[in-house]
Every structure is written in C-alpha cells, then in structure tokens.
C-alpha cells in the first residue's frame, strides 16, 4: 500500500507541503522571537523592505510572517480536532444504522437528514454566534456541520460488508452482534473513512477561515481567516496582508486534497483503475 502511495507524485507533493506546514506551526516560537500580536515596526511595511520582516507588517505594525506561522497552528488544530469530533459522532451513528437496520436505521437517517438539509456554512455561523466565538466553540460547530456525510458513508459501507460470507461465518461461530460489528465489520470500512477524513480536514480549515473572515473567529487566536478578514479593508493599499494568508490556505488545503486522493488510489486500487480507464 505504501508503495502504491509513494509512487503517486501528487500525493508525495502533498505530504511534503503538509509536513512543511506542520513543521512551521510546531517551531513557530523558535522561528520568530516575537509573538504575532506584538507591534514591532511601522505599520504597512511592504514585504522584503526590511531585514527580519520578510513579509512586511500589517495595519498595526505586526510581523506578517510570524502571524502566518502562528496562524498555521490554529488552522491545523481546528482542522484536526473538528474532524476527529465529527468522526466520533458520524462513525458510531452510521455503523449502528447500517448494521442494525429497521427502526434504528430509520431514526438515525432522519436525524442525519435533519442536519443535512441546513446549509453547512449557515449552520456553522449560527452555532458560533450563539456560543460566542472561541476556539472550542468554533471546533465544535465545524464538527457538528461535518459529521452527516460520515454517517452516510459508514452506513453504506457497513450495509455492504455485513452481507459478506465472513460475517455469516462469524455469526455461525457464535459471536455476539456488537462483537461482530466491532471486530469484523468496522475494520473493513476504515479505508474510505480515512480518505474522507483527510478531505474533511481541508474543508474544516476552509470553514474556520471563512468564519474568521466574517469576524466570527476567536479574537484571541491568530488565524489565517482573521488575517484576510482584517486586511479586506486595506486590500488596495496593502495587497500582501491578504495575499500571503490566502496562499497559505491554498497550499494547505491543496496538500490535504492531494494526500486524500493519493490515499484513495492506494487503499482502493479497484476504484482508481476504473477511474483511469
């Protein structure tokens, strides 16, 4: 599997980019001596116009490069944690619905549809506005709007797997139903979940940026969306304030998408061959 993955050039580019972003996020305090909120120089310094401030300064004279690095932490953290939470909600719900069927399925799916009928972004805005924007509330809001597709996917996978012969064999061997679900069925649905999760992280990062852009970010956390939102009003006089965080978002989301596709090809060779034909 690793062999198939590593031979995919796009996926490897994605991994390199993502590792770079993660490294910058982790080592931000070592790379930059001042904190991203600190006013270090004159405001509106253009990029490369002063040593030590490669990407210039923002409206208050804060170091844009440092803001980018610290912003990576928030984006990645929110992306990862919200995806984990979404999986924690979506996977059990989908698995139960798919495995037990009947009224369990009916109930779970109607509940899922209830969330799916509301547009993702609108629901996220409402949730954040109600709970007051903090990193925790934003993460939870993103998780709440992103679990329904997970539940749907897991349900479909479980439904197809539970009809296979090895499941019948396990039942004949006397395994209890919950045990069969946990040890026989679920492990066989992991690969599509992994693929979906990697793409969800990318979506979550975009959602967080959009919320921050609208001023619904955590006002105490430096994030890329916040940077663009704050730079919106000066876009004509200071292009670099929105350009660099925009590039950062593009790179990170692109990297995650490349990895997701690579994983999809590697874990699901049957599908990939069909795609190429």
């Amino acid at each position: 599997m690793w062999k198939r993955f590593s031979s995919n050039i796009g996926a490897m580019i994605g991994v390199v980019l993502l590792v770079a972003v993660i490294a910058i996020a982790i080592f931000a305090p070592l790379l930059f001596s001042h904190d991203p909120w600190q006013m270090v120089q004159r405001p509106f310094l253009a990029p490369f116009s002063m040593d030590g401030l490669p990407l210039g300064t923002d409206t208050l004279g804060r170091d844009v490069a440092s803001q980018l690095a610290y912003g990576a932490r928030v984006s990645l953290l929110v992306g990862l944690v919200s995806t984990l939470v979404a999986l924690l909600i979506g996977v059990p719900l989908g698995a139960l619905a798919g495995f037990y069927g009947n009224w369990v399925d009916e109930g779970a799916m109607r509940f899922t549809e209830f969330f799916q009928t509301i547009p993702n972004f609108a629901l996220a805005i409402v949730l954040v506005a109600i709970f007051e924007p903090t990193l925790a509330s934003i993460t939870i809001a993103i998780a709440i709007v992103s679990w329904p597709p997970v539940a749907r996917l897991v349900r479909a996978e479980v439904m197809s797997v539970r009809k296979r012969e090895f499941v019948d064999a396990a039942r004949l061997a006397g395994l209890s139903r919950p045990r069969i679900l946990m040890t026989q069925v679920l492990p066989n649905t992991v690969s599509p979940i992994i693929v979906m999760a990697s793409l969800m992280v990318a979506t979550a990062i975009l959602l967080e940026s959009s919320l921050s852009f609208l001023g619904l970010g955590d006002p105490n956390a430096m994030s890329w969306g916040y940077m663009i939102g704050a730079a919106r009003t000066v876009i004509r006089s200071a292009w670099w304030l929105s350009f660099f965080p925009g590039i950062a978002i593009v790179i990170t989301v692109l990297a995650l998408n490349l990895i997701g596709e690579g994983l999809n090809d590697a874990l699901n060779p049957h599908l990939s061959r069909k795609g190429k034909a």
């Binding site: 409206t59 004279g61 007051e132 006002p219 009003t233 000066v234």
Partner: protein
C-alpha cells in the same frame, strides 16, 4: 514661461477669492450612513437623522466652532444677570415650508409640549425651566427655577428642533402622517425619499436670510458598504463624505487625490470622547492602582497615529479639550510600562484574567482593542478580548458584565450635559449603557458636579470644573483614551461647508460651489 503665467494666475486667483461673491446654484451629493430611520427631528435624534434633518429643521441658535451662540431663528437674545431669564427675539417674516407663518407660539409648543414628551436629553435640561412664554409673536421668554449655565447650549437644532404647531398640536406625534414629509423652517425643503437609495432636498426659495441658501438641491446618498462609499467619492458620484463614512485607512488615499480637501472641524459640539469603562465594583479593576497601571501601560499616542491615522487627540481626562471648562492641570498618564509594572507589583496583582470588550463598530475598534490587549499583556496583565456584536455589547455593558469595555460618548458642549452623567452616583442604574456604567462612587465629587452645574458665572464654573477634573483624574474611574476626530472629506470647490460646531448637520445653509 507657461509655468510662470500659471503661477501668476494662481496668485491672482487666491487674492481675488475673498472678494468674489458666493456663487449660486449647483447640487451637492452627501453620503449618509446608515440610512436614517426617519427625518422628523423632534422624534428621532440619531446621527444620520441629524445630518439630513438639520437642513430642514432649525432651532433658535447655532454655535460656532468655539461653541459661542450665533443667531438662527432668534435674531438676538439676552440673559438676565441672575441667570434666570432667557429672552429671545425671533426673526420676522419666517414661514414654514408649507407657507404658514412661523411665530413664537411654535417655539413655546415645541419646547414646552412636543419635545418635553419626545426628547429625553432635552427633558433633563427643561427640568430647570419654570415657564416658557410668548409675550408677542416674535419674543420668547424662558424662565428658569435656578441658574443653569449649560442652558445656553440647549438651542442647537438636534437638541431643540422647532416643530410646526399647526401640524402637530393635538395629534399623536409618533403616528402623524406628516412625519413622512417633514415641514420645517430650514434652508432646504424635503422633496423625495427613495428608500435605500437617496433623500432629495431642494432649496427653500422663501428662506428668511437674503440670498441663502446658495445651493439648488442636496442629495443624501445611501451606500451601505464602506469600500463602495470610497469608490463613489473617487468617481465623483458624491461630493462629501461625512466623518466616519469610510475606514480610517482609506482617508489618506482619498485626501491625497487632487482637488480633495478634508477637515476635522465640525464636531466641537459633540466632542466625542473615547474611553474604556473599568468595572469599579469587582475584580482587579476595583483597585485604583490597577486602573492607574492600565493608564500607564497603554501607548495611546501609538493608537492615535496608527489606528486613527493621526486624527484626534490623546485625552487627558473626562472633559474634551475642544469644549468649555476643559482643564489641563491634571496628572498626565504618559506611556510608561515600568511604572505600570511597579503599580501592579505594589497592589499584588495575581494574574487574574481581565476581559476587554471592544466596541463592535468595525475594524478600527477591533484593532484598537488588540493594541490595548497587547500593551496590557506586555506589563503582565492577563488580558483577553471578548467577542461581541452590537446587541451583546449593549447587554454586557448595561448589565455590568465586563472588566474593561470600550465606548465613546458625546459631550454636547457642556460638562453638565455630557460629562457628569458618567461619574455621579445618582447615574448608576443597571440597564443602560449611557450612564455611570463603571460604578464610580465619590459623594464629595457628586456634590461638586451638582454645584458646578448651577453656578451663575462661567468663571465660577470653570474653577469648579478644574477642581473636579484634577481630583477625578487621580481616581481613574475609567481609562480615558482619545478625543475622536472624524475627518469630513469633500471636494475643494465646495466652499463654507463646515462653519459651525455641528459641521455638515447644518452646513449646507452657507455652502456654495465654485464653478
């Protein structure tokens, strides 16, 4: 050679300018933001309404930039030596926009009946009034119960707009259908209001001042987005951007354009002063040493230069320097982080978290809160920004659920009208964000505020207010930040636009356009 001739011409033009008579005609397009809820100035007094309706309605007086009273509907006036009797002689031959004659009865009706019911701020001043009478058609007498120095500042258009008795007497004011087509005595008449687009006023041909107004028509344009307003000005679609209608960062770009002028004048009457309320009841902010440390920790000059692009002035205390009775004989709080740290150490600050509530009025205020948080954290204060919207800000401040909260308030030309309300104990009242929200209690100063309001001569009052300012600045009930200045940006060929203490609110009366 051409250059020389051009220069000569320019000099000649400059010399000739003061001699040239004001030119008549032309149309002025002014941005109004946001769209006013109504134009009946006696019923609605928010900023946009005052901007537009200040051309339709008038009061007895106007005020120049030194806040000295000038004639408006009143030609002359007299205050008795005991400070109790105010006599106004009205202009003759004034008519309402519908042709009815304007008389002293209209003034009595407006002040004594209509505005007493509809205008809370004026009602507070009218509490000092014993009677309002009209001995004849052009004379009005206000008889006071006790001397009230600031009373002479109550005759501004937004404070005491004179409304037509023949339209409103005996009706339900709020639902009177004439509210939609306001009738005043002012230099411009209401023509049409295309909701969401523009308000159109036309010249009052029968205006009582010979030759005025000069302009034929004024359009107030509604453009909801700040960036779009800036573009509308750049393309020449509008001629005037009133203070606050574009983001501060856009101001230098616009004023650097050719033929564009700007002025910070025209806000003297309002004198908006920004500060942070500091909760005097609980938490670290209840310790005066902490409050002083906050003052020393903030680099207020930096904010003025960077966040406000150099507009405004760092505040020294509760009274704005552009208004009467300002005193600079107070303890200065310069940027001094070491002193702030020393004060924090002395009080034994334990790192308890302090919440900062920004004013949700756009990017400028958000950046300001971020700068203050950074300043505070640099001296070791554990400060965090609360996020909020307008409703949340109102709720949190009026319910006293905050540690530090940004705000700014108008001063209305006199400490007794716009300043003391934030510091006296009788103004501590849950549920309103416009009173003594910080919970400052100082009975000794309360007595001084009350005494200063009713002293007869300006000299006595000045001495009393100087003493109050000296004392209160040491107590730091709130963290005074900045005297705000909202630059008005306009095309230079618009002349005499801002000549009074309320700026463009009543400016179009004297404005003219040079061809």
């Amino acid at each position: 050679m051409t250059k020389l001739r051009a220069t000569t011409f320019l000099i000649a033009a400059t010399l000739a300018a003061p001699l040239a008579a004001q030119q008549e005609g032309g149309r002025l397009d002014i941005v109004v933001q946001p769209e006013p809820p109504g134009l009946m100035l006696g019923l609605v007094q928010n900023g946009p309404t005052q901007l537009v309706a200040g051309d339709i309605y008038e009061s007895l007086l106007r005020y120049n930039s030194d806040l000295e009273p000038q004639p408006s509907l009143a030609e002359s006036w007299e205050i008795s030596d005991d400070g109790l009797t105010y006599t106004f002689n009205l202009h003759e031959g004034v008519t309402w926009h519908d042709g009815e004659p304007f008389t002293a009865d209209d003034v009595v009706f407006s002040a004594d009946v209509f505005l007493r019911e509809t205008h809370a701020r004026l009602r507070a001043s009218l509490a000092y009034v014993e009677s309002i009478t009209a001995p004849d058609d052009t004379t009005v007498v206000f008889q006071l119960k006790e001397p009230f120095g600031p009373f002479i500042n109550a005759f501004e258009a937004g404070t005491m707009p004179i409304v037509p008795k023949h339209i409103y007497e005996g009706t339900d004011y709020a639902t009177n259908e004439m509210n939609a087509t306001p009738i005043g005595t002012g230099p411009f008449k209401f023509e049409t209001w295309e909701k969401g687009s523009y308000i159109h006023l036309v010249k009052n041909e029968d205006y009582y001042l010979e030759g005025k107004p000069y302009l034929d028509e004024v359009y107030y344009r509604v453009i909801p987005d700040a960036a779009a307003r800036a573009v509308a000005f750049e393309t020449g679609e509008v001629d005037v951007l009133p203070g606050g209608s574009v983001e501060n960062w856009d101001v230098p770009r616009l004023t650097e354009m050719e033929g564009v002028c700007s002025t910070g004048a025209g806000w003297e009457f309002f004198a908006p002063l920004a500060w942070m309320w500091m909760n005097n009841r609980e938490g670290p902010t209840s310790d005066v040493r902490f409050r002083q440390a906050v003052m020393y920790a903030m680099d207020r000059d930096f904010v003025k230069d960077v966040v406000w692009n150099g507009f405004g002035k760092v505040a020294t205390g509760p009274v704005a320097s552009s208004t009467n009775f300002y005193s600079d004989d107070v303890t200065p709080y310069d940027y001094n982080p070491e002193k702030a740290e020393a004060l924090l150490e002395e009080m034994g600050y334990d790192g308890a978290p302090v919440r900062i509530l920004p004013l949700p009025y756009g990017e400028t205020w958000q950046r300001w809160a971020e700068a203050v948080r950074q300043n505070l954290s640099e001296v070791g204060i554990n400060a965090e920004i609360d996020s909020t919207d307008v409703a949340g800000w109102n709720e949190k401040t009026s319910q006293w659920d905050y540690d530090l909260a940004f705000t700014y308030l108008y001063q209305y030309g006199d400490p007794a009208l716009g300043v003391s309300r934030n510091y006296t104990a009788d103004r501590i009242k849950k549920g309103s964000p416009w009173n003594n929200v910080e919970g400052y209690e100082n009975p000794e100063l309360d007595a001084k505020w009350a005494a200063a309001a009713t002293m007869v001569t300006p000299e006595e009052r000045a001495a009393a207010y100087a003493e109050i300012q000296k004392e209160i600045v040491d107590d730091v009930p709130v963290a005074w930040l900045q005297e705000l200045e909202f630059p008005t940006i306009y095309r230079c060929d618009v002349k005499d636009l801002v000549t009074t203490a309320i700026g463009i609110n009543d400016g179009p009366r004297d404005a003219w356009i040079e061809e």
